[in-house]
């Protein structure tokens, strides 16, 4: 089975800190995605990547950046964490675009205080 592993299950950070959320997949998937999930808003796409060193903005990229130096790893970076970035962050990967399912990690619940 494909596994998508997110490095932290729970994370508490202070306002203004730089935060790194790490995601690793083990099945050579081309595409990787970062979503955030908030009550009443569902999942919203932050950034995605369809190849190493490639990145595309999703629907809510403001305040975030990403890094994909290796195919299996996709990092989400909060440059200066703010309280409105308190959320559940979900990483996903897929084999290719257009017609395949996504495999999700278990999520990182980030609290910014």
């Amino acid at each position: 089975d494909v596994k998508v592993t997110q490095s932290s299950r729970y994370l508490v950070k202070r306002t203004g800190e730089k935060v790194f959320l790490e995601c690793v997949q083990d099945m050579d998937h081309e595409n990787m995605f970062w979503y955030r999930q908030d009550p009443g808003l569902g999942l919203r796409l932050i950034y995605f990547s369809y190849d190493v060193k490639m990145k595309e903005k999703g629907d809510i990229p403001e305040g975030y950046s990403v890094s994909r130096e290796k195919k299996e790893r996709f990092s989400l970076i909060l440059e200066s964490a703010s309280t409105n970035q308190t959320s559940m962050y979900l990483c996903a990967s897929s084999l290719w675009s257009g017609g395949t399912s996504y495999t999700f990690g278990s999520g990182t619940r980030l609290t910014v205080v």
Binding site: Y35, L41, L45, S97, G99, T103, G107
Partner: protein, 114 residues
């Protein structure tokens, strides 16, 4: 903006009953997918239906797709307490010739009472 809207937002049924969840979307799609999420966990893929398909089955799951109405439904038959979860529809939207992205609805929370 959100692509999909799901209805109802919450559903509570007795074990053994059927559960139906509906999803509407706005733009053209490559395919539509349904996912399940247990409380506080990641999403698990249930079923994918392509834009040229009308109905698909997987075990106790039945999905329909009506592209003319831009809507889909998920039917869970003979529900069990273990089916209690949130269910999300997601539309695969084409970005370029070889890339796309999944846009999720807000989900339906299903409670199955034993």
């Amino acid at each position: 903006s959100q692509q999909g809207e799901e209805d109802p937002q919450a559903l509570s049924i007795q074990e053994g009953e059927n559960a139906t969840m509906n999803c509407s979307y706005k733009t053209s799609i490559n395919n539509l997918q349904w996912y399940r999420q247990n409380s506080g966990r990641g999403l698990v893929h249930l079923i994918l239906i392509r834009s040229n398909e009308r109905e698909k089955h997987s075990g106790r799951l039945r999905v329909t797709l009506d592209t003319s109405k831009k809507s889909s439904s998920l039917l869970i038959t003979a529900s069990r307490a273990a089916d209690t979860a949130s269910y999300f529809c997601a539309t695969d939207v084409k970005i370029s010739s070889n890339t796309g992205k999944l846009i999720f609805g807000q989900g339906t929370t299903l409670q199955v009472k034993p």
